[in-house]
């Protein structure tokens, strides 16, 4: 029993690390905290570039979280806070880049590739259907066997 308890306590230890990762901020209410968490998880830490501001433990992430927090307290909107950071750290800090000419490839590129694939498939299916309209099984399919 004691052993089991010890194991249980050990398993809980990693949670301590999580609990300490983010500095406590004096939120006015729950809604403000939720808003802060949502906003900081949409922003990217400029230093450790695959982490959000919310997740990162880098000093700059700490400072930027403080900045975001203070701007929320000062009554700034989410867009104002985002553009404040974009002005200083470029659009790189946005996990969701805006749709504009320079990001069209990013946003619509996958759709273009998908459409190209669909066209190839459609052409192939039609061609095969024309070549052997009766045979359901590709027993005599010697040409396009890829």
């Amino acid at each position: 029993m004691r052993r089991a308890l010890l194991w249980f306590a050990l398993c809980l230890l990693p949670m301590l690390a999580m609990a300490q990762a983010i500095q406590p901020l004096p939120f006015r209410d729950r809604a403000e905290e939720v808003r802060f968490q949502k906003l900081s998880s949409e922003l990217r830490c400029p230093m450790c570039q695959n982490e959000t501001l919310a997740d990162s433990n880098a000093p700059i992430a700490h400072d930027l979280r403080r900045q975001v927090f203070e701007m929320i307290q000062a009554g700034k909107s989410d867009d104002e806070i985002k553009s404040y950071l974009v002005d200083r750290y470029s659009q790189f800090v946005l996990y969701k880049p805006p749709v504009e000419p320079s990001t069209w490839l990013l946003w619509f590129g996958p759709l273009v590739v998908l459409a190209a694939g669909a066209i190839v498939v459609a052409v192939q299916v039609r061609r095969r259907a024309r070549q052997n309209p009766t045979a359901a099984t590709p027993a005599n399919d010697t040409e396009d066997d890829w």
Binding site: P46, M47, Q49, P59, I60, D63, L64, Q67, V86, D87, R88, Y89, S90, F92, E143, D144, W146
Partner: protein
């Protein structure tokens, strides 16, 4: 002919991935191009390191181009960069303004005593707020600010002889061309 299509598709993919590898050898994926380049440097008023009563602001530095070097005693790369500031950067003949970023003043002073002080003046940004305005995210960083207070160039990471030759000298030449 259509049998060769997969082969060509394969070659196209090899080309694409090869281009990706080539591109990554030439570009630092960690470098965020600063949106502040060719924009006025942010206004700041910061105390001088070691003399908290004296402040330096953006206006007092106008009139002559200068380098602003972000450094800190906790910054490991700064130690590697420092000899370049002491020699090659000084020889470029521009004032060197130190931007002591999120540092303890005493630690910074003894760090400079140990490694040498190449700076004409050092401002201290203890809480990193002015650093955010400059888009600083990792020391060392170096800005070139022109006589009108516009940021003309930014280096993220240590200055090396290569950086001076390939980036800083051309930036200085561009400055000299427009203001004879």
């Amino acid at each position: 002919m259509s049998r060769l299509i997969p082969f060509f598709a394969f070659i196209a993919l090899v080309g694409l991935f090869g281009f990706g590898i080539w591109w990554n050898t030439r570009h630092d994926q960690h470098e965020i191009v600063s949106p502040l380049i060719d924009k006025p440097a942010p206004a700041f008023v910061l105390p001088v390191l070691g003399e908290p009563a004296r402040t330096v602001d953006k206006a007092s530095l106008l009139g002559k181009p200068y380098f602003l070097n972000v450094f800190a005693s906790w910054c490991i790369e700064c130690v590697h960069e420092h000899p370049m500031l002491m020699t090659d950067m000084k020889q470029l003949g521009l004032p060197l303004v130190g931007f002591n970023y999120k540092d303890d003043p005493e630690a910074a002073t003894s760090w400079l005593a140990e490694h040498g002080n190449p700076f004409d003046v050092i401002v201290a940004d203890r809480d990193g707020r002015a650093g955010i305005d400059f888009g600083v995210y990792a020391a060392p960083e170096t800005f070139l600010v022109d006589a009108k207070g516009v940021i003309r160039y930014k280096r993220i990471g240590p200055i090396t002889p290569d950086v001076i030759e390939k980036e800083i000298r051309p930036a200085l030449a561009a400055l000299a061309k427009e203001a004879p």
